[in-house]
């Protein structure tokens, strides 16, 4: 495999993990615009453990992910009291705050960045991304996922049917944060370098775009969205300087034609019916 292709596929793997981190709370109707902050927590925490304590990345990355998840619970409980645009603003600010904290934290290199000793190969990154996809597919087959959909569709009715609306929202938010932290930890160990500037607003916003574009109704949406946003700009390389304009036009066109995202429940139903009827 060429170095170029490997590089693109590694980026795809990171984008897929990030997309699912945003998708989980979104499946419960919550927008997390601060996902980059949770990636930073996972990245810095795991890098710190491998660098300073000589931990292996196999334990450091899951622990960084767990820490990001724990922060998700602690931060999610107060932040998820807000709704709509206020939640978007709160999570947006949250991402900024986390990133700014690491930028000023000299123990992890501050603005100069933080080199990481242990190395995660592309194969490890791909396997991890595949693991995240499998985990998401599993979750989507459970009652937990059904509860998230119920909360998103009609929180009042879900509550009256006994679903803990806040509990589900916090769980989805924290689980998303843990996935983000996992991706962040791998990122730090694959590129052997972390800098706070990487985990900026654009990263959060783009990840939300992947998910909205792919569609939030089914578990396949984030995968398709991340793949589209990663691969299409590469395919458009031939058009050189026009590729960003062409790509943006693509997005606007698709969002106009499919406002619910590329992959929707009705599309999946259509596929399933085709499969049973020969």
């Amino acid at each position: 495999m060429s170095g170029y292709l490997t590089g693109v596929l590694v980026v795809l793997a990171f984008n897929v993990m990030a997309a699912y981190a945003v998708y989980l709370p979104m499946a419960a109707g919550q927008l997390n615009l601060g996902i980059a902050g949770f990636m930073a927590i996972g990245a810095y925490a795991s890098a710190f453990l491998t660098n300073e304590y000589g931990w292996s990345m196999w334990t450091a990355i899951p622990l960084g992910s767990g820490l990001a998840g724990l922060m998700g619970i602690i931060i999610g409980i107060p932040v998820l009291r807000t709704h709509g645009i206020y939640l978007a603003m709160a999570t947006f600010a949250l991402g900024q705050v986390i990133s700014a904290v690491f930028l000023n934290l000299e123990v992890v290199g501050g603005a100069a960045g933080y080199p990481v000793s242990d190395y995660a190969s592309p194969q490890v990154v791909w396997a991890a991304a595949a693991g995240v996809v499998v985990l998401m597919l599993y979750i989507s087959r459970t009652r937990f996922a059904l509860c998230l959909t119920a909360v998103k569709s009609d929180a009042t009715v879900a509550d009256l049917l006994g679903v803990s609306v806040r509990g589900m929202q916090v769980a989805a938010f924290a689980l998303g944060a843990a996935v983000a932290g996992f991706g962040g930890g791998l990122y730090a160990h694959h590129y052997n370098f972390v800098e706070a500037q990487h985990f900026n607003v654009l990263l959060s916003v783009f990840t939300v775009l992947y998910v909205l574009f792919g569609g939030t109704q089914t578990v396949w949406g984030p995968l398709v969205g991340a793949a589209f946003f990663t691969l299409v700009p590469e395919l458009l390389r031939a058009s050189d300087q026009w590729r960003y304009a062409v790509f943006a036009a693509f997005i606007i066109l698709f969002m106009a034609v499919r406002p619910q995202g590329l992959v929707t429940t009705s599309l999946m139903t259509l596929f399933r019916r085709r499969r049973v009827t020969p």
């Binding site: 959909t149 569709s153 009042t156 009256l160 049917l161 006994g162 803990s164 609306v165």
Partner: protein, 253 residues
Amino acid sequence: MSAALSISGLSKSFAGVRAIRDLSFEVPKGRTTALIGPNGAGKTTVFNMVSGVYGVDAGRITVNGTDVTHMPSRRRISTGVARSFQNIRLMSHLSVLENLLVGQHVRASSLAALLTPYRLIPNHRWKREARAALAESGLEAYADETVGALPYGVRKRIDLVRATLAGASVLMLDEPAAGLNPSETNALRDHLRALAAKGVTLLVVEHDMHFVDSICENVVVLNFGEKIAEGPLSVVRRDPKVREAYIGTDGED
């Protein structure tokens, strides 16, 4: 006869306007009772207070002997009370079966239940139970349909099945017959009678007096948030206060 639902001294104001004043009545276990009154009498407000969507200013609500007055709305379903909404509140982009599975939540909310990949297990007992409930109501053909695409009358009845699957012994129905055509109304009537025959207590808000007459043993009449009459419909409809409340609307005859 013991009461399935008991309301005493209930009051509620919105921005200084008294919506419910010192309201007391009981719904006997296993009976079908109607809550009637002109528009704005406070019928839906009573439902909202019993289900916990609104808090109460004063008074007490008990369901099957449990005081639910200050219980969080989420927990009330476990005392056996469920409700429907005037405008159907089903999750329209989910399938009928999935909507019913949400209805079972109160009986399947442990961590193990939440993490069971029931969708991967063919004929999982939750799905079996939901299909059986549908079949009992003659709705099995709709199991895999998306709710949003179904006729209004069918959706109203799926809403009922969902409440039954929650294990509700007291069902509050907000205008179940509104907007139904005659054959859908008949199907609904049969459905409600079947539920009543199983011992489910029903409290129905309804404007269609023929429908009320055909299923309810007792009616409670509200006007401006106060109870003005209570008893069998045939008696209540002759009450001068009730006739006065309905003047101009002619909802009685």
